[in-house]
Symmetry: D2
């Protein structure tokens, strides 16, 4: 079988280098092009020296991207930049997995309210599938444009979806307390990612206003054909990778821990990348991999369902999920190229 | 003025070394004895080498503790051990600040249910004052036996007390999501504090069952002359020191962020160790100090009050608060010896 | 082609879990057994939960190891324990890669002097090949018993071997200043690996007496048919994985940086796991992989050759190199199963 | 006694905030002004929020600095900026402690060669005293302009000075392998101080060319009335604070560890901030303090003297030493304001 050809547009960031890390061992796919406007002409391993002697393609400008024979493009571009590429290329023969937030929400209006940015391609919202395979596998299979979910939303939605779908929780009392590693902030250094600011430290950020709030809220609502209200508070951990989300919800009927576990088992038992845990999961148990590990329990003292999920924000929260989506879109085995074991310790 | 004489019983752990760190610069107090059963006869700086040439008292056994002239004893003993010292010494001439959990709860029955341990001195519960100066300063002043609050409870109660007292939140919908540094687990190495288990990692622990749950719940309830139900979930951070608690509560009447800030200001404006913050606090901003920094806000979208507090678990969460209590009990300036600035970075 | 069958004796430590991580993706090998005396009967993923749903073999006792059809055994046992397995099994039909230090040195006498332990199988020293493929590939190919090198020695010897072989450095003025991650100390928690002891901290250890000193010294000497004297100082980094060794040597003739680089290039240009770097390498650039990255330079101001090497102590310094040795011993492609990209960040 | 008045010129960086941390508890000194060009008009606690309610002076521009009544100025300015202030103010009535590198070296020529910058005030070199009290206390006492030593040089020179002065080591075979925390790079975020670049990572930098090389070499030479050649290699640790320097030197006569210890004892026994250690020191044992802890040993196998020193780069390596110098210059007790115990853990 000849391999599929894919390109990575915007390969100098963390999601770009993660896509390369995964795809170079993928048996069914060739990376035929990687682009960067700021560093075109340089070797990939000049930008990401860990790839020396492993992957040495030269970065090209987006205008030099050869479309012929191209099967799929990953957009690893900043929010607000992706939309222009999509606008110009949505009618081309290649499929697109967009890792930015530009097409994850329901409409231009919602996007502009939460991203504080104009949106240039309103039609894109209709053409896009939200790329969370556990919820929308069928649509992804047909999709030509997939919006890869945000990292926090991936962790939160997988923790909430069974509860929402079953209709057993109060849809307006959903609290998601999330903690993320620093790579979620991107490869560019900023004052708040300066090592002495983060190391041995911890804080909340984006309280009440983080953009992923609306993404979680819209998707869990839509998935349950309902409205929902989600409170989401992110915190910054002194770790590289990983998100742990602790979700608190209120049952609308009598429930027990075993029943909760049964519900989650029924939803996820055939899912290759959701692992239900009876013990408490930690970040390193999924590090470098596409797994989402989930623990759920009912606290009768406070009548609360606590569900804890962990992912690697750069893998299941970005590049790994993008490859999973690609596998589905290209008709490949969904796990192809994703047989990676956690790097623990 | 002659100085007061104090002893530290159980000086080989982290709270013991923190008490020494603070007290050796205290202008009104002498450390006259430090005890340890396992390492008696050794120099303090053999156990804690950072104190070489700074503090070189020899550790003695508790049986060799000279009571004459002793004004106050700090008990830095494990839970379950403190109670025996108190039982044997509560009638002596010296006062006691107990840093363990043995007398923080309301009764022997509650203690035994949550600590899974027999309690040997039931009468102690009546004689004890809960040593949170911001709530119980007057009683501490009269107290002869003060139970120094737990680290998580200190952070959570200070975040919740004004809301409870004002009666503006639903007392049965209190969620405390806390994140702590590893020193909270003590100086003894265990599998779950092995560096490669914690570093670059994060997890929840003690879900639904942590002992500090009941301490928070009882105190915030009692302070508001009411019952309360508190959900408390601790998490382990890859940091040495510090607790950040994110609390979620539901208002029982209309509220706004400015009004919340006003309430907190009224409660805490004369408190030397509570700093109200209009920006989001982080752990290092209080590291090494007795401060509790608090941020509060109202989210109208979800009708939730979010209050975030940070402390250094070994200082305001243990040794610093113990010295603050000692100052009050001995009639000293409450801030004496506690003029320490945060070590940031 | 049918696969080879291998067993891991002592699979509960870090080298055991790393062997599994690598071998489960190896195309030519099956793990047929994993052993542990302390945890036999348990699932591998009970001991290493990150492997849940990935690798779920049950740990067996060593006495239950089925020898028939077994092609190779990895010994991931502590020093002093391996030797007994080797003594009892060196004549069996399977080959052995011993990851302990029991057969790396030249003789029983040297071993006993540096390891402060009796050695029970003196004949083993003659039968053993030192498993550093870059130096001893041919002998490894014929070997039935391979002593997998220590982690520090791997990093130091690869940095020194070309200089020694060329005879261009003073063999009695070799200084190796090494810095290692904590996993080098094993999976068992100890006071000096307690998180608050290591985090945000740094120290030297084993000064003048670390066992790897003699391993480095003997091998670099032997490789150059000469005697050598090596000064080796290890330090403990607050990181999980990785060793960086900074070596200082004195040239015995005129030299320049370009000439040094040429020498290293000639030695290593066909080596799949040595990457010569013109910029300064860091630990994460090899994390999770079998690479050793090397930088070399000549400082004419002080007449010193500085060579800096980095490895992942658990991979090129242990399990990865063991698999590389296995590949050679079994006649497989040397890189089989080792196509792993660095986890950076 | 009325207090001395001091100003901090350039108070927005780490050395500025450390000077404040120390000086606000100093019994003999008032901070009367703090300056910043970029943030003048703001409160100090806007820039360094940890000082909220502790120190709330407003930053002023340097042109608004009131000279009358000013006793001493700390220059916490970048290299290349300090020299202009000194040029304009060296004849004023206040004394100056310059924390930059502008006047530490022997001459304009040497400075320009190693700093790659023009020097505008050549006469300053003659008027300056190198502010290492352990070597130059007398001159500091008379000095009006003191160049506060670099952080690496402080750690290295204290480790080497006794050996140099005694003339027992080969002055041209001095190797200093140093490891520093990230605060040494300043408060400004840069790509190489981005958290995911440093965390769980380690690398060398500035190999052969770091500016502190010449500072160490000149001072240890001058102190021994001799020439010296020093090889210095810095490395970047994933820690906030602290420098550990491992120095390797060659004895020129027979020596032993006890004799070495005796020599160091004789040099440093009355020094308030040098602690000789018989066990191996670590960074946290001096964290936040003005101590330099030193361990020395002789390795007869390799005929090498190994001396290991640790300091807090922001305290003994910067602000603490500056206060120590100020105390000497103003005729105060040298330890005034510096009674700070290590923050360990």
């Amino acid at each position: 079988m000849s391999k599929y050809n894919v390109a990575i547009v915007g390969a100098t960031g963390y999601t770009g280098s993660e896509l390369v890390r995964i795809l170079i061992n993928h048996p069914d796919v060739n990376i035929t092009a990687i682009t960067s406007e700021s560093r075109k002409g340089e070797l990939f391993s000049d930008v990401h020296p860990q790839f020396k002697d492993i992957f040495d393609l030269t970065l090209i400008g987006i205008d030099d991207l050869e479309e012929e024979g191209l099967d799929l493009v990953f957009l690893a571009l900043p929010h607000g930049v992706s939309m222009d590429f999509v606008k110009d290329n949505h009618h081309k023969s290649f499929k697109i997995v967009d890792l930015s937030g530009d097409f994850r929400l329901s409409s231009k209006a919602v996007y502009e309210a939460w991203y504080q940015k104009d949106h240039h391609f309103e039609q894109g919202f209709d053409q896009t599938v939200f790329g969370l395979p556990e919820l929308y596998r069928k649509r992804i299979r047909e999709g030509r444009l997939v919006a890869n979910p945000g990292c926090f939303p991936t962790s939160a939605i997988l923790a909430l979806a069974p509860l929402m779908k079953e209709g057993i929780i109060d849809k307006n009392q959903i609290t998601v307390d999330s903690k993320t590693g620093v790579t979620g902030a991107g490869i560019k250094s900023k004052p708040n990612t300066h090592f002495p600011m983060v190391n041995d430290n911890f804080s909340a950020y984006g309280v009440k206003s983080h953009r992923h709030t609306i993404e979680i809220q819209e998707i869990v609502g839509k998935y349950a054909n309902s409205e929902a209200t989600v409170l989401f508070t992110p915190h910054l951990l002194p770790v590289d990778r990983g998100i742990l989300s602790t979700t608190y919800t209120k049952p609308t009927r009598e429930i027990s821990t075993p029943e909760l576990e049964k519900i989650f088992r029924e939803y996820y038992e055939n899912e290759p990348y959701v692992r239900l845990r009876s013990d408490l999961p930690n970040l390193k148990q999924v590090r470098g991999t596409n797994y989402c590990d989930i623990f759920t329990t009912y606290d009768d003292r406070t009548n609360t369902i606590i569900t804890i999920s962990v992912i690697d924000n750069l893998v299941k929260g970005a590049a790994g999920q993008a490859v999973q989506n690609m596998n589905i879109m290209l008709g490949l085995d969904e796990t192809s190229g994703l047989h990676i074991s956690p790097l623990q310790p």
